[in-house]
Amino acid sequence: MSEDTVSIDSARADADDHGHVAVAVTTLDAELIEGPSLATPDVAEYALWLGDDALVLAQQLGAWISRAPELEEDVALGNVALDLIGHARSLLHYAGTATNRTEDDLAYWRTEPDFRSLHIVEQPNGDFAHTIARQFVVSHYVFELYSRLRASADQTLAAIAAKAVKEVDYHRDHATQWMLRLAQGTDESRRRMITALSDLWPYVDEIFRDEPLIDRLEGIAVRPSSLRPAFDAAIAPVFAEAEVELPNGFVASGGGRIGKHSEHLAFLLAEMQVLTRAHPGASW
């Protein structure tokens, strides 16, 4: 073979040098696979809450790629989506240990009522301002959540949160910077940013609602309502700097945690699951 050709075998050696596709992205961390713990049914349900949020949001952001306002944003939104798929895989893998199902069984073979995602992650991408508003809310919430989940009595959840929180910190910063740019940029961008925040705000309340499951997971799960003060404190200075009032309007009824979803989810799942479901039993 001449010096200029690259064979499949030599490509194999290069794969670890790859900038973005670290092995961690394509394979699950060893401790999550080999770990001794099987999730209890309640822990599995909680892992679905968090895993489905990450999965649905990753699916939404994946649709931006090749359509972003600038190439740097194709890269940035792609990075965020990749991190979220990583979180979703870890969480769904763990949830699946309770019922002997794989991450893909859970992602591709559950129907809408079995999903546990919040309505806010199901809201459509809209324009860039809507995507940023959604990212702003969700990444601030998830950052507070994972920061506390690191201390969970459940070792696996604690390990996943410890790894993910560093990535979500970047997502939070990315969304905050854009929120400021759009709110303080031009008249048009300000108008769009304010509209997006007002469109998204009805879905914020659901994030912080406690369900009976949380009572059964004391010390393991993070109580959603306990995150609200930290969330409010974190977003207030950004709204102040952006010179935008906190939206104050409808509160949507929610219900994602008990399988009652927005009308958007079914379409999102139909697209995500279409190929897999056309080939039952196939591996990819």
Partner: protein, 333 residues
């Protein structure tokens, strides 16, 4: 290597000192750097090649991003997303390399969306099947690697260095494409059929990626003399075929060329006749997806204009605020 083109690299009475230095650097296989003097033709030729390459990366995101939301497993979704994201990154490095030659990103973007700039025609083909993610990785990225690995030694420094990083990532891309096809070929009858059908569609277009035959390639000779390009189109095409024939055997797919055979004398795989009519049709804008690819890029650019304007306005306001704060601070002292 021989070439029918004779570059003017000899010292003559009317050649400037700078030009002589440039010729010496090329002759010595050294790198030309942005601040070095270079002939206008060399600069133009590089801007053309690098920006076309950048545009190809950017347009090349589309046929694959088509499957991100439908990837059949979460692992495949992650890999595909990472791959398409790499392509955006490659586009960015390459635009930067072209900028070192005086081209502006705005001009290059405008030329792309106006349809006046070229990009690799391969991305005007469609991806109706998941197996196309495999074929693009294995055949299209495989062909790109054969083209691009020699470019790591291109005489222009920023281009060569960008290519080193790009090639590392491309080799990963080729491997993941091969793995997609391998998994399909080891799967159900429907999956095997999906893989074969896709390879049948991509094989010939991949061979055409090396460009027209050597005796019909107008820009090649000068590029080779300047050591921007190191091997001829036909040489690279042959190298690619030699590489993929054994890989096709490992996969268990057939290559759709009944005339493909091993030549004992040359120890190479001789291929059948390439139908260049199709190549010229696609090049002339009559490919399956030329219009759609440009429309998507134009839409992304136009839909995102208000966002870029907002970012620019915000940056100006921030600078003004900082200056204002500094002035006030000075005044209060």
């Amino acid at each position: 290597m021989t070439s029918t083109f004779t570059p003017d690299t000899s010292a003559t009475a009317d050649i400037s000192v700078e030009e002589q230095q440039f010729n010496d650097l090329i002759e010595a296989d050294s790198r030309i750097e942005p601040r070095d003097w270079m002939p206008e033709g060399y600069r133009k030729s590089l801007v053309r090649q690098i920006s076309q390459h950048a545009h190809s990366e950017i347009i090349g995101m589309q046929p694959e991003s088509n499957w991100i939301t439908r990837a059949p497993s979460l692992k495949r979704k992650a890999i595909l997303l990472a791959k398409v994201q790499d392509e955006a990154g490659h586009g960015l490095y390459l635009y930067s390399a072209a900028q070192t030659l005086g081209a502006t990103r705005d001009d290059m973007t405008d030329a792309l969306i106006a349809g006046t700039a070229r990009y690799s025609s391969i991305f005007n083909y469609q991806t109706p099947s998941w197996a196309d993610m495999g074929s693009i990785g294995w055949l299209v990225d495989g062909a790109a690697i054969c083209n691009q690995v020699p470019l790591c030694r291109a005489s222009y420094g920023p281009y060569g260095r960008a290519m080193v990083r790009i090639c590392k990532e491309e080799s990963f891309h080729q491997r993941q494409g091969f793995e997609i096809l391998l998994e399909l070929m080891q799967g159900t009858a429907e999956q095997r059929q999906m893989a074969q059908e896709s390879v049948n569609r991509w094989y010939w277009p991949a061979l055409m990626m090396f460009g027209p035959p050597d005796d019909d390639s107008p820009n090649s000779a000068q590029s080779m003399a300047w050591k921007i390009k190191r091997h001829s189109n036909d040489e690279l095409r042959q190298r690619f075929v030699n590489m993929i024939v054994p890989q096709a055997a490992v996969l268990g797919v057939t290559l759709p060329d009944p005339d493909l055979h091993f030549n004992e004398e040359t120890q190479q795989w001789d291929l059948g006749t390439i139908d260049w009519t199709e190549f010229h049709e696609v090049l002339a804008g009559r490919g399956p997806n030329n219009a759609q690819r440009l429309q998507r890029r134009r839409d992304a650019h136009e839909d995102g204009a208000w966002v870029r304007e907002a970012a620019a306005a915000y940056a100006i306001k921030q600078t003004a605020r900082k200056q204002c704060a500094r002035t006030e601070e000075m005044a209060s002292k």
